[in-house]
Amino acid sequence: MEESKVINKYKLVIVGGSAGSLNALMQILPSLNALNAFALVIVLHRRSTDDMTLEELVKIKTITPVKLVEDKVKLEPGFIYVAPANYHLLFEADDRLALDISEKVNYSRPSIDVSFESAAQVYGSQLVGILLSGSNADGTEGLKYIQKLGGTIIVQDPKSADMPFMPNNAIANMTPDRILDIEGILDYITNINT
C-alpha cells in the first residue's frame, strides 16, 4: 500500500518590486523563518552600479540561506534566490533558473513581468506572486498572467508602500487574492504550506 503523502500546495514564491520595495523587503527578511518547502525568488529593480549587490544585502538581513544565482542553477526549496542586475531571470521546466540579456522590458532588466510570466508557465497553481512598492507599471501584466494560470497573487497595500503607484496600478487592473501591508505579507509567507 502506498503511504499518503503530504502535497505542498506551493513550490515557489516570487516577489517583485521597484522604488521603495527594498525598504519593505528589509522589514520582512529579518523576521522570516525557514521557508516551508518552497523557494523564494526576489526580483527588484535596482541601479546596476550600486556598490553592494542586492544579493549581499539580502544575505545580511536574513538567516534563511541565500543561493547565488548563476546560469542554470537548480531551484531548491528552503532557499532564497535574488535576480542579478542587468539580466532577465527566467524559469526552466526542470526547476532551473535561466538568464537572458535581451532588451529591457518596462525600462527594466530584470523585468518583473518577464520573471512572473516565465514562473507562471512553469509553476502554474503552485506559484505565489507578490508585488511590492514601486513607481512604474512593471509587474501588473505578470500578475495577471500568474492569476490566469491558476497562481495566487498578493499586492502590497498601497497605503503601506513608499511608492504606491505600482501596487495601485496592479489593483486597478485585476483583483488580487489579498492586499496586505508589510506585516500581513510576512505573516502570509510564514504560513505558506502549513
Partner: protein, 269 residues
Amino acid sequence: MIEDIELETLINDIYEYYGFDFGSYSRASLKRRVNRLYQLDGFTNFYEFLSKVRYDSDYYKRMIDEITVNVTEMFRDPHFYKIVRTEILPLLATKPFIRLWHAGCSTGEEVYSMAILLKEANLLHKSLIYATDINSKVLETAKKGIFPLRMMKEYSENYRESGGQEDFSSYYIANYGIAKFDDELASKMVFSQHNLVSDNSFNEFDFILCRNVLIYFDNDLQKRVINLFDESLATLGFLALGTKETIKYSISTTKYKQLEKEKVWRKVR
C-alpha cells in the same frame, strides 16, 4: 502565447526545413523570444505562423535575426575589462603574435572595446581578433564599426571605469547621430559567420571571449561549446565568459585555473 508543445513543433520544423538546430537551446529564453516575435508580427494562430516559417525563407531569416539575442554594449561590465587590462594583456604581451577569438560577437561593440585595450597596451599591431556570430546581419554592422552616437556617453563612462585614461572620443568620428570608430581598430579584426552548435574549431587562440552566449544553451550544448573552446585554446591561454556563466559543469576544472572571483579561466595544462 504559444504552448510548450508548439515550440517543440517549431524547433523540429526548423531543423527539418532549414537544418538549423535549436534543440539544445534553453527553452525558457527561446520561448520568450518566439512569443515576442509572434506577437510583434501580429499572429493569432500558431499554424499560420508555422507555415510562414516553413515556406517563406525570408521570413525564416527574419525569425533567426529576431530570436537570437543581439544586445551588447562597449566595455560591458567595466570591471571585467579592467582585469583584461591589468592582468591578462600583460601576460599575453610577451608573445610574438596574439590571436583572439570573440565568439558570439553580435554587432561588435565588445570587439572594438578589446581592440582599444590592445592599442593602449601597444599590442594591437601584433594581434588579430577573429570575431564570429551565427547571425550574418549583425556581422555586417560589426564590420562597419558604426554605433549610435547617443550611446557614447555611457560607453565613455564604462571606458573610464575600466581604467581608460585617454579621451574616449578620440577613437571615433561623430557625424549625424553616428559614431564611426577608427579604421585602425578594425584593421586587426576578421569577421566571419560561425555556429557554435554545429561548426568546429578553426584555429588556435591565446584568448577566447564568449560572454553571455552560453546562457541561451542547455547543459549538453554548453559542454560541447566549452570543449570546442578547449580544443581551440593554446596552453596558458585565457577563456572569458559572462559574469553569471561557469565552466564547472562542463569540463574538468583541473585543466583550468580561475582568476580569483572573475569569470576568466587560464588553461594550465
